[in-house]
Amino acid sequence: MRDSTHYIVDVSRIQNILKAKVWVSNTSSNEHITGIYASDLMSDVLAYGKPGSMLLTGLNTVQAVISAYMAEFRGVAFIRNKSPEEETLKFAREKGMFVLSTESDMYEACVKLATLESKVSEEVMEVEEVSKAENITTHSFFIDGNDFANAGLVSTQIKALLKSIGYDPQIIRRAAISTYEAEMNVVMHARKADVTLTASDKEIYIIFIDEGKGIKDIDLAMQEGYSTATEEQRALGFGAGMGLPNIKKNADELEINSVVDVGTRIEIYFYIK
């Protein structure tokens, strides 16, 4: 493992993968290493070892721990289940180093540690890869028709996302109102809907695709006060016939496509200046 800070590995993770026995453990809470050096030749350790590493060795003498200490290593792991002598353990304890031993031989231990290394670097790579990705983000949501108790949940989530991107407050407000109205339409008139939000530095695009009774006459539905809501829904304060007109008023662009008894597709655009 190279000594970049991202390659920090906790000693307990090394211990897990080597199924190692712990002879001496470093009591500090963030016990970790930044690299591994495997050798039986102590002169090599002193010449090539990097500070912060762990020494993997078959040389079961106090000399191994002393060399590791000189090279500013954090600890030592002995292969083939060797039991270190009391003198070795005492030195390690004094210097705050850890001592492990594993059943594996040198080759097997190296292979296991190499696997761990690639796993760790994969984790780091994944995170780095994201930062290279395109500056566009997509999120999907689901709305259940007739679920009045949870009505407004999706628009709240969308609003939170837009806020965490830091769009202009006025655009967020318009988007929040539009999505809330569209969501209420789904809850009142459709069985279910899939919602997708796509956001970039150019635009915010929200699409609602629902399965439901559809809209017979879109032009009529766009008129303020026109509503097909039931008496019960109106009694609850919904269905004032302001939904679609309100979306239109707040959105930069609105597209509605509908097939009666199949469903409706509402696309809402907000352009970022």
Partner: protein, 419 residues
Amino acid sequence: MKYFHSHVIIQERCKGTLTCLRACPTKALRYRNNKIIFYDDLCVDCGSCINSCPEKVFLPVIDEIADFDKFEYKVVVPSHTLYTQFGANTHPGLIHKALLSLGFDAVHEISKHAHELSYVVSESLKSDMFQKPIISNFCPAVIRLIQVSYPNLVDLVSPFDVSRELAAKEAKLLYSQKLGLSMDKIGVIFISPCPAMVVSIKQPAEKEKSWIDGAIAISDIYNRILPRIMELKNEKTDETNQEFFYYGKSWGQLGYILRYLDPDNTISVAGIDNVKMILDDIEDSRLKNVDYIEAFICPQGCIGGTYCVENPYISRHAAIMLEKRFGKPHEFDRFEINKKIENNYYQLVEKVVPRKTRLMESDINTSIKKMKQKERILTKLPNKNCGICGAPTCETFAEDCAWGDADLTDCIFLRTGTY
């Protein structure tokens, strides 16, 4: 911009219990390298950290009475909440007398101004001049919450100055005229129920400078006036005829800003989570036909403030009883007030503006990148919100990692590979 805050952090006292970062409603605190890190742009001065910390790490910033000796004439303006701290039988006149015995030269009451202001608000709600619903600016923590988390609602914050400021303004004008002193020689001191109001005096969100010169905590003054009040009670002096007691003493309690307004079109809300719910509803235009919203960060309103001594439920009882026993309606001259409205006496010149957080300062591209990165990191985290990394939740930790403020290896689960 450097924000003034209601507390200073005494790092040496901290034992790392993580209580504060869990309590902070805006997630402004972290614990890294055995130190508390404070994101001061996110803090709304609600006082949760001061209340929650068992080690008293957060030291409130508050004035002492001696700090005001530089003024030639000292006028004290008590918060309404003060009157509710001494039980249901203590006449406010006694409290005023006790305050004067501490060396203040005069007591100026807020109630009158509160009453006038609600008339002003109810008049202005009739006109179409203002965007509705108007959100009360009485609670400074609510204003700051809007600045930080609801920037698209800043325009709805009440355009009128609050009652404590109006009281201070009148006190300054009144006594400078009466005594022939310049206004800066008259010190107006507020007795505050909470840290947020202290901040609103030291660094107002809605104007350049406060009319109030400083603030003392109710809890600091409580022990000093209590014995005096007891003495006065034993002396059996009759205070009930004093003219300085007006109807409306119970302001600061949930529901009382609204009492002169039409209940049809008003809503009261208290407690930060409830306030957030209402603000969310306003954002989505979900609240229909509501003209005015009274909101307090503290549960029960100001009687639940950090510096209050009495249990808020007992205070509420006291407030109701006090009003029943001693309340007198304050008659004001409508003609005069209407004239003041025309002269913009009550209106604030400046507007509340959103705060610049790290999000607001970066461009959309960067923040989308950061958000995606945060979401990827979040999938790697255990979502146990243990707080051991020093962030209150896994989500905040992921965000900190994305912004480069924290390192993935701070997560104990990632580091040990146990997740």
